[in-house]
C-alpha cells in the first residue's frame, strides 16, 4: 500500500564548506507514514533530515543544492521563508530542549508566535489538545505552570513533541529522539509515534535497528552521504538488496 508523496528530494547535494556530506540523493517520503533513516554515525542522516525544514540555514558553512518538493513547492528555494516552512515541518531534537519556561508556556510558544491563537481560552485549548496528543496531559494537567525543566527526560521529550505539534505541522522530523532516554521512556515515545502517524508524516533518525523495525513502515539506509537502499521496512530488514545494508543490519558495520 502506497500513500501519496509528501516530500521528495531531487538530486540533493549538501556541502559543509568544501566537504560534501550528502551526495545526489533523490527520494520520496510517503505521507502519513513513518520513515526511518538508519546508517552509521557521520553518514549524513541528520544533515539530510535538517534539509526538510531548512535548519541547515542556521549553519553558515552549510550549503544545500537541489530541489526539495513539498506539494508543488520547492522548499529549498532561497526565496521561500524558512520561518513559515518550519511551522509546517516541525522538529524534535536528540536532546530534549524545553525552553526555561513553564510547561504551559512551552506549548503555547509556537501557536503564539505564528498567530494561531487569539485569546486565552483558545491558547489553553491548543495547549491541552497538544499535551493530550503527546500523552503528557495526565501527568502534568495539575502543574501546567511549573517549570518545564522539572520534568523527567522522557516527559521533557514528549513536551517537545507537544510543542512541535501545537502549531499543527504536516511533517514531524525527529533526530534520534530517544537516544537520551531510558528504555521505558523510549517505549512510551515509540507508542506515541505510532499514534501520531495518523495525522502527521514522520521522519525519524534512529540508531537502533529494533526501533526502526518497530515504528517505521519505510526505511532508508545511508552510508557516507549516499542513499544505499530505501524501501518498506520489513523488506529491508528481512531481505536487504544491498550487501552494505545487510552488513549494517546484521551488525557488521557500526
Amino acid at each position: 500500500m502506497t500513500n501519496p508523496t509528501k516530500l521528495s528530494t531531487h538530486d540533493l547535494n549538501v556541502f559543509y564548506d568544501e566537504k560534501q556530506a550528502i551526495n545526489n540523493i533523490s527520494m520520496a517520503i510517503e505521507s502519513n507514514k513513518v520513515t526511518s533513516f538508519i546508517g552509521p554515525s557521520g553518514c549524513g542522516k541528520s544533515t539530510f533530515l535538517r534539509c526538510f525544514n531548512r535548519m541547515n540555514d542556521v549553519i553558515p558553512a552549510c550549503r544545500v543544492e537541489g530541489q526539495i518538493m513539498m506539494g508543488d513547492q520547492n522548499i529549498n528555494d532561497q526565496k521561500l521563508d524558512p520561518v513559515l516552512l518550519r511551522a509546517r515541518v516541525g522538529m524534535v531534537f536528540q536532546k530534549p530542549n524545553p525552553f526555561p519556561k513553564s510547561i504551559f508556556e512551552n506549548v503555547a510558544y509556537g501557536p503564539r508566535i505564528h498567530g494561531l491563537v487569539s485569546s486565552k481560552s483558545e491558547t489553553a485549548d491548543v495547549v491541552e489538545d497538544s499535551l493530550k496528543r503527546s500523552g503528557l496531559w495526565n501527568e502534568v494537567y495539575d502543574r501546567l505552570h511549573d517549570p518545564a525543566t522539572g520534568l523527567s527526560g522522557g516527559q521533557q521529550q514528549r513536551l517537545c513533541i507537544a510543542r512541535a505539534i501545537a502549531v499543527s505541522p504536516e511533517v514531524l522530523l525527529m533526530d534520534e529522539p530517544c537516544s537520551a532516554l531510558d528504555p521505558i521512556a523510549t517505549t512510551i515515545i515509540e507508542n506515541l509515534i505510532n499514534e501520531l502517524q495518523e495525522r502527521y508524516t514522520i521522519i525519524i533518525v534512529t540508531h537502533s535497528m529494533q526501533q526502526a523495525a518497530r515504528v517505521s513502515q519505510n526505511t532508508a539506509y545511508f552510508h557516507l552521504g549516499h542513499l544505499i537502499e530505501y524501501g518498506a521496512t520489513k523488506d529491508i530488514f528481512t531481505n536487504p538488496a544491498d550487501p552494505q545494508t545487510e552488513a549494517y543490519i546484521s551488525g557488521k558495520i557500526g
Partner: protein, 469 residues
C-alpha cells in the same frame, strides 16, 4: 660573622631552597634503597617521599626565618631606644624618632655620627644587628636540618607520603582562603568599630534621615548643627549624599544597560566571528582606561558641553552636574555590562536556539522570547554588579559631579556622593578622632552594606538560574 649578603632574607631563602632540593633527592633515593632492602613496594610514588622530606626541610625553616626577621627588628629598635634614652635623658618624642633614624643611617654607613655618644650607640646598634643576623642564619639552617632529619627518619615504605603531602596542600589552600576572609572581616570590623564610635556621639536617626550634610562648616542659622563643649559642629544627615549617589548611579545605568546589553546581543547573536573578535577586545579596552581619565573627560569635556547646551537653551547649568558624572560613569560601565552579558548570552545552549528556530521563530523572536529569558538571571546579575560599581565609583564623581550636598532629583544639578564625601572628609588636615573623620566611617559602612546587599541579590538571582537549561 656570616657575610651580610648571605644573611639577608632573600639569599637565605635561596639557601634554604637549595638545601630542600638536595633533601628531595636524598629522600627519593633513600626510599628506593629502603624498599629494595626491605623488599616492599612503597605506598606512594617515590618522588612523594622526596617532596615530603623537602617540605619538612623548607617550610618550618622559612616560617622561622620570617618570624625571626619580623620579631628582631622591633626588639633591636626597642633596645637602641632605651640606649638613646639613657644617653639623652630629656628628649621629646620627635627628637627620639630623629635619633632613631640617625642610628639606622649611621649603622648602614650612610652618614657619620655627629658625636661620640651617638657613635657608641650606633656601634652597639650595628653589633646587635649583626648578632641577630648571624643567629637568624644559624637558627634557620638548624631548623632546616632538624626538619630534614625528622622527615628522613619518618620515611619508610609503608609511610603514606603522598597522602601527607596532599593533606598539607589542602591545609595550605585553606589558609589562603582563610586569609582572604579574615582580611575582609578585619576591614569590615574596623569600619564597624569606628562607626560605632561615631554613633556614640551622633544620633543614628539624624545620620540616616537627616537632610542636611555639612560636616566642615558651621552654619549660623539652625540647619541641625549642634554645639558640644562650645565647639560648633557640622551636621551629618546623609540623605542628600546618598540621594546624590543613587542619582548618579541611576544615570550611569541608564546609559550603560541599554548600550551594554545591545552591544552584547549584537556580539553574541549577529556579529560574524571576525567582527566579534574585533569588537569585543575593543570594548574591553574601554574597561582598562583609568577612571581618572574618565574623570577629566567628564570634568573638562562633557560637563562644559552640557553647560554650553544649557546656555543655548537659556538654562543656567553648572559645569559640574550629576548628568555629566553619571553619563561618563555609564560609558565606563558599558564594557563591564556588555562583556558579562555577552558571556551570559553565549552560554545559552545551542539546543535552545535550535528549538526556537525549529518551531519557526524568527531570529528576533528567538532572541527576545527564548535566549534573553533564559539568560535573564545572569543578566540581572551583570546589571547589579554594574550598579555596585557605579555606587562605589569615586574618581569621576570627585571631578565632575561637584561637592554640593543637595537633595535633588534633577540631573542637571550638581550633587555629591558618598564616595566624594569620604574623600573630602579624610584628605587634608584631619584629626583622626574628630566627629568629622568618624563620619567617613559611618558613610563607608553604609556604602558597604548597600553594595553588599546588591551583590547578594545579584548572586542569589544568578544562582537561581543554576540548572535551568
Amino acid at each position: 660573622m656570616v657575610p651580610a649578603t648571605i644573611t639577608n632574607v632573600f639569599s637565605l631563602t635561596v639557601v634554604l631552597f637549595l638545601t630542600a632540593v638536595i633533601v628531595f633527592f636524598i629522600g627519593k633515593s633513600y626510599i628506593v634503597s629502603l624498599s629494595q632492602s626491605q623488599g616492599m613496594r612503597p605506598h606512594s610514588l617515590r618522588h612523594y617521599y622526596g617532596i615530603y622530606a623537602a617540605a619538612w626541610t623548607f617550610i618550618p625553616a622559612i616560617i622561622v626565618l620570617l618570624m625571626w626577621t619580623a620579631l628582631t627588628q622591633p626588639v633591636i629598635a626597642r633596645l637602641s631606644q632605651s640606649l638613646l634614652l639613657d644617653a639623652y635623658p630629656d628628649m621629646n618624642s620627635a627628637m627620639l624618632q630623629l635619633r632613631l633614624a640617625q642610628l639606622q643611617n649611621i649603622s648602614t654607613g650612610l652618614i657619620v655620627a655627629p658625636d661620640d655618644t651617638m657613635r657608641l650607640i650606633a656601634d652597639a646598634h650595628a653589633e646587635l644587628r649583626t648578632y641577630a643576623n648571624d643567629l637568624k642564619f644559624v637558627i634557620s639552617l638548624l631548623v632546616a636540618f632538624a626538619g630534614a632529619g625528622f622527615a628522613i627518619r619518618q620515611i619508610k615504605p609503608e609511610q603514606k607520603a603522598r597522602i601527607k603531602w596532599e593533606g598539607f596542600l589542602r591545609r595550605l589552600f585553606f589558609v589562603a582562603a582563610a586569609v582572604a576572609i579574615l582580611t575582609t572581616i578585619g576591614i569590615v570590623s574596623s569600619l564597624l568599630f569606628e562607626s560605632i564610635r561615631f554613633f556614640s556621639q551622633y544620633s543614628m536617626i539624624d545620620f540616616f534621615f537627616g537632610t542636611h550634610w555639612s560636616p566642615l562648616k558651621a552654619f549660623s542659622s539652625s540647619g541641625g548643627q549642634s554645639e558640644i563643649d562650645g565647639v560648633v559642629q557640622g551636621s551629618f544627615g546623609m540623605l542628600p549624599v546618598m540621594a546624590g549617589t543613587l542619582l548618579v548611579a541611576f544615570i550611569a545605568m541608564l546609559v550603560a544597560v541599554p548600550i551594554g546589553l545591545f552591544a552584547a546581543i549584537y556580539m553574541a547573536e549577529f556579529a560574524s566571528e571576525r567582527t566579534r573578535n574585533i569588537v569585543k577586545p575593543t570594548l574591553e579596552v574601554l574597561a582598562g582606561v583609568p577612571t581618572v581619565v574618565y574623570g577629566f573627560f567628564a570634568a573638562l569635556t562633557v560637563g562644559p558641553f552640557i553647560r554650553d547646551l544649557g546656555f543655548f537653551a537659556g538654562m543656567d547649568i553648572s559645569a559640574q552636574s550629576a548628568l555629566a558624572a553619571g553619563g561618563v560613569m555609564g560609558i565606563m560601565i558599558i564594557p563591564f555590562i556588555s562583556s558579562l552579558s555577552d558571556d551570559v548570552i553565549t552560554a545559552v545552549p545551542r539546543s535552545l536556539r535550535d528549538g526556537a528556530l525549529g518551531i519557526g521563530s524568527t531570529r528576533g523572536e528567538m532572541i527576545t522570547k527564548v535566549v534573553l529569558p533564559a539568560a535573564f538571571p545572569g543578566l540581572t546579575g551583570a546589571f547589579l554588579l554594574g550598579i555596585s560599581r557605579a555606587i562605589g565609583e569615586t574618581m569621576i564623581v570627585v571631578m565632575a559631579a561637584g561637592v554640593s550636598a543637595q537633595l535633588t532629583a534633577n540631573p542637571l544639578d550638581s550633587v555629591t556622593t558618598v564616595t566624594v564625601q569620604i574623600v573630602m572628609l579624610l584628605t587634608g588636615d584631619t584629626e583622626f578622632d574628630s566627629l568629622k573623620t568618624l563620619s567617613a566611617f559611618a558613610l563607608g559602612i553604609t556604602l558597604f552594606v548597600v553594595t553588599l546587599m546588591l551583590n547578594v541579590v545579584a548572586l542569589s538571582v544568578s544562582r537561581r538560574a543554576g540548572g535551568r537549561y
